[in-house]
Subunit: 335 residues, 2 copies
């Protein structure tokens, strides 16, 4: 990075898009800032340039473009409110980032100091007196004195690199389970080990039911995969499960067929689908698995649960890129 | 949140700690800001109050406490530089957040405009002219004109709620694999399904070797667990693996012992440990698994890999809270 060629230097004008990308490398939360204009019109904007300034007096700041149609209203306003958005408010962020629609339509608004509209369900809200305005190039820097605030411990919406993101708490370096790693031993930090333990442990919760239904883990996995598709061919099954299970996929399907759970239609290609009994059996186990999922994700929390699923999904696109035939494209085969 | 009782109102003085917590709900990146003081002394501070202001002219800002010992130096400085920290720079952030040590010791510094010390390996760097200083209560707001910048596409360090965090890209709501979820079917977004597929698919990469070594997935899992401990008792094994595997843990260990991979010392408690042959076998498979891990995490990237491991680790504390005996506390048993 210290290479002179890679450094943009004045008086060369910055490429605005490139400069924006550089600035975007600083992650931020997302806020909506609202006020009530003189003509009694509620205004609101999505803003990521928010930050804290001072504790005594309590001050926060944000910037607004000189070209914004709301600039004059905010310049004149006596009060405005900052809403720090929670992870579930991505669509609200999008709504207030666009111009032209009635942004407040259908929202259960509170009324704040100076009759400023307050949005519900945010991570934090700061009601401010419009204290100072400073020159900031093509933006005006608004500094507000916080008159009132409220907050909850909910997960925040994050913006980074031009996209929304999850913030996932880091493990403290002291707590990360490394220990003395001997050559050839699994460290507890090893992905294969974590996946194995998580998977085996998840299945352990439904094992009594699996045992009762006489299903092995692999049989249940194949059965549950069949619930995703109406019917599946031996070809796409071969592609989708190739090398994945210990037993041969056909062998598993034959065993399931022998117990009346799967119907096999020999042909070219051969097709497999759940029988009514098979579907009913799958429903029983999947319902149990879903209640385990519900409980587990409840404990993991609203920020970490979607982040974990996103990351596992992304892991699968890396580790299982050829899965399209079985897992992605819905493909119906006449049976 | 709209409950009046829960809202702090002026003239009630804010509780500083509570107000800080409210402000901390806004996630930010982490920067280090450096300058060179008049006496040629390099200065640097960890700052999260950074944000962008203007594109034309290119301006950024940050705030510094009136009580900071570096305030006068920054007030007088002609230039300063902002370093947006990458995910691997948590310890650097800690170093520059503390007073009193030689913060720059041992760092491979570049020299920037105005001889400002520049830190290496950051996500982005902005070299600035000290353009304006504005009053901000108990802080001074520094606005800098960016004269030069450079950046790389590395994952950022994030600060939220008083802790460091990972930023994990969200799935676009349009891309999340929901589809029409039928009652009793697995959706592709289901955790149990994602874990199963990820685990089976990970193991698929080493299955040829497992087959060659005549190890089932569960046998390999138990074998690899044994590499974590010198020796393990039947009691802690029973607690650690209870209900986790399809086969009984003792049965698996007997099978491994019959092939000379595990030594059983009957007693009270009975102890299991790897034989030399068992250790060598584990080394072969684990080495292969590690190279799969290396490849997979390389594709997943430097931000998502530690986030995924953190989250799986946290999932395990939820789903496997009683695992301490086998997995956590190192316990040596004389054999």
């Amino acid at each position: 990075m210290s290479d002179d060629d890679s450094i943009a230097k004045l008086p060369v004008a910055f490429d605005a898009r490139n400069f924006r990308r550089a600035l975007g490398s600083f992650a931020t939360g997302v806020t909506i800032i609202t006020t009530r204009a003189a003509e009694d019109i509620p205004l609101g904007l999505t803003v990521s340039s928010f930050n804290s300034v001072s504790l005594e007096p309590p001050l926060v700041l944000w910037s607004l473009a000189n070209t914004s149609r709301s600039l004059e209203a905010f310049r004149q306003a006596k009060h405005w409110a900052v809403h720090v958005l929670a992870t579930h408010q991505e669509s609200l962020s999008g709504r207030f980032a666009r111009a032209g629609e009635d942004k407040f339509a259908g929202l259960a608004l509170d009324e704040g100091i100076g009759r400023v509209p307050l949005l519900p369900d945010c991570t934090a809200r700061f009601q401010c007196r419009n204290a100072f305005q400073y020159e900031g190039g093509d933006h005006v820097i608004f500094v507000g004195e916080v008159l009132s605030y409220d907050f909850t411990e909910t997960a925040p919406l994050v913006f980074h690199g031009g996209r929304y993101a999850h913030a996932t708490r880091r493990d403290s370096p002291d707590h990360s389970p490394r220990g003395a790693e001997i050559a050839g031993s699994f460290s507890e930090d090893f992905l294969g080990y974590l996946l194995g333990r998580a998977h085996f442990r998840f299945y352990a919760r439904i094992r009594p039911l699996l045992t009762q239904e006489r299903l092995s883990d692999e049989e249940f996995f194949v059965l549950s995969a069949l619930t995703l598709k109406h019917s599946v061919s031996d070809i796409s099954l071969g592609q989708g499960l190739s090398g994945m299970l210990e037993k041969n996929a056909e062998e598993i399907l034959e065993a399931l067929a022998a117990r009346g759970l799967v119907r096999v239609t020999i042909g070219s290609p051969t097709a497999y689908e759940l029988t009514e009994t098979g579907a009913a059996c799958a429903v029983r186990v999947i319902s149990a698995a879903k209640s385990v999922e519900h409980e587990v994700l409840g404990s993991l929390g609203p920020a970490d649960s979607p982040a974990l699923k996103s990351l596992l999904g992304r892991l699968l696109t890396v580790i299982d890129p050829d899965a399209s035939a079985l897992w992605q494209a819905p493909k119906q085969i006449q049976s």
